[in-house]
Amino acid sequence: MSEPLVFHYDIDGEDFISAGQASIQIKKNLRRIGLSPEVIRRVSIAMYEGEINMVIHAKGGTADVMLYEDRIEIILADKGPGISNIEEAMQEGFSTASDTIRSLGFGAGMGLPNMKRYSDKMTIDTTVGVGTTVTMVINIT
């Protein structure tokens, strides 16, 4: 099996206003490669929500997008506070974000549910006080 094409991004956690730049970049790169608009949209929305999450909750992190022949894998890793109750965090409407974040249009408790909605498979590996790694797989059909 051939090696995947990898795009790596460092997500700056300092500035909410600039969050999402990596997702815009990945969208451009995937367009250049010529994937279907549907796949590109799913990858970029899932990654955008993840990026926003990392900025809101974890002061940034890293994003790796791996392009295989049959799928795209997005690995978002942070050294944030971790998620104490994944089941709760996966519920639409549940959020621990601040009012400031809400006033900016996010923090409505839709981030993780949206990431799951647009992925074919999503796994969350998290340890409180250590960090969180979210892996999303989107099949190229």
Binding site: K27, R41, Y48, L104
Partner: protein, 116 residues
């Protein structure tokens, strides 16, 4: 409906990408919560919002939306307009309120089509 029809109906001003006013719109959403916008894909849609920050444009880019309407005469900053311009998204501003603007578009046939 074309974007230029929406512009007329809402008596809106164009802030960028006037050359794309001829593009077709098939759906729209009125929302200040960007995560709710991101929850359902809209086909060639317009986003009407009272929220003014760069995430509005990034949300529109992710969703492949073709037009953003800022309601209640809200004016986006230059960097917001620039980001939209880079991505070919028409930005409009209207003095109508969100509810009224959505109502006008809906009653003129711009349907709400939500598909995953």
């Amino acid at each position: 409906m074309k974007i230029k029809d929406l512009k007329e109906l809402l008596d809106a001003d164009v802030l960028c990408c006037e050359e794309n006013l001829g593009r077709h719109l098939y759906s729209a959403c009125g929302c200040d919560l960007m995560s709710d916008v991101l929850a359902y894909v809209k086909d060639q849609g317009a986003l009407l919002t009272g929220l003014v920050n760069p995430q509005v444009v990034r949300t529109a880019v992710m969703m492949d939306l073709v037009c953003i309407v800022f309601v209640r005469s809200k004016l986006p900053t230059e960097d917001i307009v620039e980001l939209a311009k880079e991505n070919g998204i028409v930005v409009l501003t209207t003095d109508k309120r969100l509810y009224e603007a959505c109502g006008i578009l809906y009653s003129n046939g711009l349907g709400v089509k939500a598909t995953k």
